[in-house]
Symmetry: C2
Subunit: 340 residues, 2 copies
């Protein structure tokens, strides 16, 4: 059993008592830090950085040292899973991720493999091993993967989109195709998360970034069952489910065998506590609050903590921190949580 | 008093009894129709089309003839209001609207004028007059405007965005600036809607397209009060408020002095009826349903109508129809509502 010097996040996740509220930030390892930008520059590209374990490890640890967060999250991307299944992608500077080939037919699905984490994603697992060694028990390490529906969106649409209408068209036009692809993604994701845990991840988070584009009915059919499979399969460490925009599914997400539910800033805190009475909650400050004054940030953080209470709670933003945020404002957010 | 041959929409809006559910579609005048694309081609550009009253009138009426909808909606754009205030925009083919100059300072706001509808937006009013003449009472005509917060987003951000973080930064960093600009937009919008009504619009809809990016607290401060001013000012015809993504504000929107509340497809129908008990509801089929088979569309429409009931209800999609939708699928949707 690993001994952690700071295990606040894990205790909060398990619903145990904590002396203070733990805090970390989605996208904490990233463009907000000049120290990250220097390593990114050295790597040459985002994908180079993500696939070079020493460099990925270095930027993973940066926010622990530079911002004082209570957890590290492995620097990677949710789209490494489709890549490991045989569908490569590129990261274009302004456009974001682009898949030169997309999945359109049953034959396309048959050509994909179920990801073999050691063979196909060894660079992430090696990065985790380096991080664990260098962190040396200072804080827990969070592993992660995209929810199958969100990965499905990219694999069928081929790029980011406001509506993901190509992906949704597949759900309506061809349910059999959709379920088959979702299942293959799910099988890959379970193996991948288990491998991250074996390599040292202390908690894993499932990001359903595009949950909010589905109707409640479709969410119940095409996203929840696959997240459920993952939650049921991962018994080694706590699991966090963050389904952005799925306000309508909070009750059902709260009934999954996960330990933590992430909230975005649209979701009312009290109402969410009522809908999800048995889980630890995580979130949910609007990332734009970090554009306001130091005083205003402290005020908003106090308001948020008053509403969540200081137990069964992990402070975070309601989405990833925006890249143009002043690191001093980030520190203000983190310190305001710590000194609450 | 104008006599309409088909006044189902207006009676449903006013909460009066209707023999059947009225139906129309957001973006019904647009790229789904080959007949629209031909006129758009002739016009040369979207902005040319929108600013040429004869052509705008022609495409406004097309869906009445070609699709059999129960209302026309004037072909225009929510961004004509900032243009009329002195902030011009361009429509770029793939990128969408772009404002070469954005509003950044109090001095920038002072340079804007309150729109004078006859002088600055005469082309829309003339298009309305032509449509009214040509429709000759067949169906009602819907006028519209963006909600002040949504217009504010474009005027400060300068273009579409997934997060509108520049616009939201302004809300957090400079509330005084934000309220001042929102008020100027509101004053312009009230005059503009009143002019549309004077020109012949039988109902007006307020589109708060970016409502969903705000936290409940910010929505209450920066969007609702301005929509309320508009609802209070418009007493001549029924008003519809459609705030996409503002699931958290349904109760408050239901308490405005509007007649109809639009729902998107994330919003559960029964829950929305409970939250908004005194208004007519409009919506909310996922536009992607129109990608499925004819049978499936009919089934989904029946399910929707069963849930809404056939009174105090206007059938619509939960967002604008997607441009690559087959017009026959659109007709299937419309006929399924009519034959319910």
């Amino acid at each position: 059993m690993e001994l952690l010097q700071n295990d606040l996040l894990l205790r909060a996740a398990r619903g145990e008592k904590t002396e203070r509220v733990p805090v970390w930030m989605m996208r904490q390892a990233g463009r907000i830090l000049a120290e990250y930008r220097a390593v990114r520059e050295k790597a040459g590209s985002f994908i180079q950085l993500a696939t070079t374990p020493e460099l990925a490890a270095e930027v993973t640890i940066q926010p622990v040292d530079l911002l004082g967060v209570d957890a590290a999250i492995i620097f990677s991307d949710i789209l490494v899973v489709p890549e490991a299944m045989g569908l490569p992608y590129e990261m274009e500077e302004k456009r974001g991720p682009v898949f030169p080939k997309v999945v359109k037919s049953m034959a396309d699905i048959d050509q994909l493999r179920i990801a073999d984490p050691e063979a196909d994603l060894g660079y992430v697992l090696n990065a985790i091993r380096i991080v664990k060694k260098e962190l040396n028990g200072r804080v827990p390490l969070i592993g992660f993967a995209g929810a199958p529906f969100t990965i499905f969106c990219y694999m069928t649409e081929g790029k980011g989109s406001k509506t993901f209408s190509v992906a949704k068209k597949a759900l309506y036009a061809d349910p059999e195709f959709s379920h088959k692809l979702l299942q293959k993604i799910t099988d890959s994701t379970i193996l991948y998360l288990k491998a991250q845990i074996a390599a040292g991840a202390n908690l894993v988070q499932i990001f359903d970034s595009w949950a909010g584009i589905l109707s409640p009915t479709q969410y119940r059919e095409y996203s929840l069952p696959y997240i459920k499979q993952i939650c049921d399969a991962i018994t080694e460490v706590p699991v966090t489910v963050f389904a952005k925009g799925a306000f309508f599914a909070r009750k059902e997400i709260g009934e999954l065998s996960c330990e933590v539910v992430g909230l975005d800033w649209n979701m009312d805190i009290e109402e969410s506590r009522q809908l999800i009475p048995t889980k630890t909650l995580q979130g949910n400050l609007d990332p734009c609050v970090l554009y306001s004054s130091f005083n205003q940030i402290e005020k908003e953080v106090r308001k948020m903590l008053d509403a969540f209470g200081n137990q069964r709670y992990i402070a975070n933003l309601g989405h990833g921190v925006y890249p143009d945020t002043d690191p001093d404002k980030v520190r203000c957010f983190i310190n305001a949580v710590k000194s609450y």
